[in-house]
Symmetry: C2
Subunit: 338 residues, 2 copies
DNA sequence: GAAAAAAGCGTGTACGTTAACAACTAAAAG
DNA sequence: CTTTTAGTTGTTAACGTACACGCTTTTTTC
């Protein structure tokens, strides 16, 4: 089926059919109804190749990703998904420009973003960043579509947010931790970006589950980097005798697991964390970590790019994607999964 | 970048560039090298819209899906994913033809498949069926690409298999069941298509996990339909006093959970099953089922169609997709997830 | 050394759609 | 009744690629 065939059936020219299909003015209501009924009957769908060839729309998506040292592993997984989408849709008019930054260095995001802005982007995909550095007003005025991955910015409405519900994730982590631990006692949360919305919400979800029957206790601690974990945990263990489990709101659980093994208390303390980076995969295999909550980082990256691409090039509406909460034990690890 | 621009840079015509790009003969090695280096440098990728418009390849995928009563819920989820892919790729030359059958009725598959064969399919997507009805030789001779979803046929090599590892799935189910249950004792597996490879392997995985420390026992039972569950379980409970958990290799766990609630022993017996159909979602919410292993049915359907489509229309190689094993408790249910 | 064959390269058309432009009709204005 | 205007509809040139066809130049053959 082509518009030429539709035109023949309706005894009109392809120009008229085109006007009807694209809702352009200048067609009598009788002709319009006739064409519409033929389209309906035949189930005609415009050839998307011809349409896009003619329209020739291009999308240049500026991707802002934190690749600071402590987050390298996780965001590389996201990047895998982004690159997969890039490979799939280049040739269909998609080009990606990248800006990398360290969200622990003040001004780093801003600088990388300025560079990216000279690349002629028609949309942006933005990962977590220091809230104060986000150029809300500027982006709003530009009118360019912006999608967030794994983050939100108060008072800014993006075209899409690709993220997992962090409270639910922490809640599930609490559930799994209690399943794996024996008896009641004290549970520890470890945060590394305590100001970040995700961190805070995950810890809150965990706390909510653990404390809901009133027989357990939760202690929250912060670390500045992975290296802090041993002495921070030394402190916690010396002031609490009944520690049953440790939950880290991001991927550093393997360091905590290693600590437990080293102190020879792994059999008494459950270790649950976030994000199936390589270190955590290994830690699950050797038993120093018991469970990891995952949020399908590559899937998030792929989904985000694919949603923005369709929005910009194909004008499709973007439906919000809530990312499922995956639970990994040693037994359901799959090579290549996250 | 277009082949016209490449041609200008190389001082040749677009015909010559085209010959190089498509590895056709009739180009001197000097010219070929020149063009290839320009393509390399500029990172040129042929416009996929123009290419596909010209080639005009169409794919008609015949989809064989069991919609027998007992499987209705699960395969409708798969169908959701298939329909999503259909919507996305119609317009890009994809058409789907459907054949529905009941795999418990002998000959039903064969009849539905014969009908489908008159629709001019250029590829087939085939779900589990009675092995004896599979026309191996005929499909092999036709040379048409065939993909399996959730199943395999011995001695037939398809272009793609979209499936979860059933042994690992059962193994994880065992892990979760033991986590949720207290003490040692007897665990029950319930199978409904015991001859099916998936059923058998899931039960084997479950058994392997449960029995690996030698302190537990596993009893395997078969049912012909959901309605059999009450009296089959009556039998099992009357002959075993120490039952700690029930595992169904497919979606009927909600019926077992209901039985346990009705007999007022739900607090003593854990119920774990497969596939997050609507009934199981509700059972998780009301506590009659404790955990469900999922295999992302819609994702499988989408992936299968998308892989076959790319194979047929775009000539891409299909990489095997192992489907992750998802674990759902009440706490990580998400509306719309599976 | 002329004829035949092969190699190398350019030209033009088609794929289905969009949108600018042209053309034609009927109603309104003078 | 002519002119203007608005309302419809038809025509056509792109978009970038693939491939059949034709032309020119070089190489082979007897």
């Amino acid at each position: 089926m082509t518009i030429r065939e539709i035109a023949q059936m309706a005894n009109v020219s392809i120009g008229t059919v085109d006007r009807v299909l694209n809702n352009r003015a200048g067609v009598s209501s009788a002709t319009k109804a006739k064409i519409e009924s033929i389209v309906e009957q035949t189930g005609f769908h415009a050839n998307a190749y011809a349409r896009n060839l003619k329209l020739g729309k291009k999308a240049v998506i500026g991707v802002m990703i934190p690749l600071g040292s402590s987050e390298y592993g996780y965001w590389n997984l996201v990047l895998d998904g982004i690159r997969k989408a890039e490979a799939e849709f280049s040739g269909f008019g998609l080009a990606l420009k990248y800006g990398f930054y360290d969200r622990d260095k003040a001004g780093d995001f801003t600088q990388a973003f300025r560079t990216l802005q000279n690349e002629g982007c028609t949309a942006y995909l933005i990962a977590p960043l220091p809230v104060s550095e986000f150029p809300s007003a500027e982006l709003r005025e530009s009118g360019l579509p912006v999608a967030f991955i794994d983050s939100t910015i108060p008072s800014f409405t993006p075209v899409a947010v690709i993220a997992q519900n962090p409270f639910k994730g922490g809640f599930v982590a609490g559930r799994v931790t209690r399943l794996l631990s024996s008896g009641t006692g004290t549970f520890v949360t470890i945060q590394i970006h305590p100001d970040a919305y995700n961190s805070f919400e995950r810890a809150r979800g965990f706390r909510t589950y653990i404390m809901r029957d009133g027989r357990n206790n939760v202690v929250d601690v912060n670390v500045r980097s992975v290296d802090d974990i041993p002495h921070v945990l030394d402190d916690v263990f010396s002031s609490h005798e009944d520690i049953r489990g440790i939950f880290t709101v991001n991927c550093i659980i393997n360091a905590a697991g290693e600590y437990l093994v080293h102190r020879r208390i792994k059999d008494k303390v459950v270790a649950v964390g976030y994000d199936l980076v390589e270190e955590n995969r290994n830690a699950l295999k050797n038993g120093s970590v018991d469970a990891v909550i995952s949020q399908r980082p590559a899937f998030q990256g792929y989904t985000a790019v694919s949603a923005l691409f369709r929005k910009v090039v194909q004008g499709e509406a973007v439906s919000p994607a809530e990312i499922p909460i995956d639970i990994y034990f040693e037994e359901n690890l799959i090579e290549g999964s996250e």
